[in-house]
């Protein structure tokens, strides 16, 4: 134990501003997320990523679906679109294509949760990945439907408890990394909210890389998931990540499956160069122009 020494007295300062404040709709903060929830961490990493990319609030649009993560778009200063449950990606596809017509370097980021993107929105996810539409899709995976009170979702580990699985979830969950990779995404990464710096780096890469880029963020949900699964606080869940996560860049996406009490492999799994939707489309339009 360190010897107790006199604590340094802080300076009291007035009118302080968070360094990333310009990215936040500060008039809407503090946000609604629970103590220990990782969404605030994901949001600060996003803001930090945008700042390091020197992307201003007007260079980016954020699209989100319904759920706790869905509220994130509303807390960011950029043009933000809080769409219907599961439909963030098709909305963003339309938005991104329209922007390509008059502001092609405008970034469109989809920020949503595991239920929104992979249960009701799953069909849209795999098709957008197949098309390699130029979107950065960031999924905050907290293993349950938090907003609606802790129901199990498509990523809830086998045997984990939720309000709709009081005896333990008896379904095999998705391996989101494997799903994204097999659908054709040229960039797939997974980090937890513990790995803030690498998460921010992954977001930067995903935002800048053309095509359908995917980042999974494993994030604590103490009040609804953790509480029912022996992780009563965000801190306990973060410690779990600390003990279970293993950084293995370019591991086989198949191995990224999260088994109960098993390893959580994090890192960049896929980072390929591949013509994106607009490259292919432009080629066909040029061909059409020649034929006339």
């Amino acid at each position: 134990m360190r010897k107790i020494k006199t604590k340094p007295t802080p300076e009291i300062v007035e009118d302080v501003h968070h360094p990333l404040e310009r990215y936040f709709r500060k008039e809407r903060l503090p946000h609604i997320w629970c103590p220990g929830c990782g969404l605030g961490t994901a949001m600060s990493c996003l803001a930090y990523a945008l700042e390091e990319l020197s992307l201003g609030v007007d260079d980016v649009s954020i699209v989100s679906g319904i759920g706790c993560t869905g509220r994130l778009a509303g807390y960011m200063r950029s043009d933000s679109y809080h769409t219907t449950h599961g439909r963030a990606i098709p909305f963003a596809t339309g938005l991104r294509i329209a922007m390509e017509m008059h502001k092609p370097d405008h970034k469109v980021i989809v920020f949503s949760g595991d239920g929104d993107l992979f249960a009701i929105g799953g069909n849209h996810f795999i098709h957008a990945a197949r098309r390699n539409v130029d979107l950065a899709v960031i999924c905050v995976n907290n293993f349950n439907y938090g907003m609606t009170g802790g129901q199990v979702g498509p990523t809830t580990p086998l045997g984990a408890f939720g309000t709709t699985a009081p005896y333990g979830s008896f379904e095999n969950p998705f391996n989101l990394v494997y799903l994204a990779a097999s659908s054709g995404a040229p960039y797939v990464a997974r980090w937890t909210t513990l790995h803030t710096r690498r998460l921010k780096q992954a977001m930067m890469e995903a935002i800048m890389k053309p095509g359908f880029t995917f980042v999974e963020i494993i994030s604590p949900c103490p009040v609804n998931y953790g509480r029912r699964n022996k992780m009563p606080t965000g801190l306990v869940e973060m410690r779990y990540y600390q003990s279970k996560s293993v950084i293995r860049n370019f591991a086989d996406p198949k191995d990224a499956e999260i088994k109960p009490e098993g390893e959580i492999i994090v890192g960049t799994f896929i980072d390929e160069d591949k013509p994106d939707y607009f490259d292919i489309y432009r080629h066909f339009v040029e061909q059409m122009n020649q034929e006339k």
Partner: protein, 86 residues
């Protein structure tokens, strides 16, 4: 985040760490995962009843910004003092 919070600021070797007590929700992330154990949980409460962090070891802090990134409530951040070219 009311504009212009009242906050506490500690001088570190490279700059400052600022903590806005009232925004903290006591998740403990910054305290637990600060790589240099510069933060500890305060004995006092904020108006919501949460123990906010306080800087106990500013000399150890290297402004690595981990606390700023991990804080879900944007209640703590780091600033680097710009060298003034004389």
């Amino acid at each position: 985040m009311v504009t212009g919070q009242i906050a506490k600021r500690w001088k570190t070797s490279l700059g400052w760490i600022t903590i806005v007590d009232s925004l903290c929700k006591g998740c403990g992330f910054c305290i637990e995962f600060c790589p240099l154990n510069a933060l500890e949980e305060s004995q006092e409460f904020n108006q919501h009843g949460y123990h906010f962090p306080e800087m106990v070891n500013p000399e150890a802090c290297v402004n690595c910004e981990y606390c700023q990134l991990v804080c879900p409530d944007f209640a703590i951040w780091s600033e680097i003092e710009e060298e003034h070219p004389d």
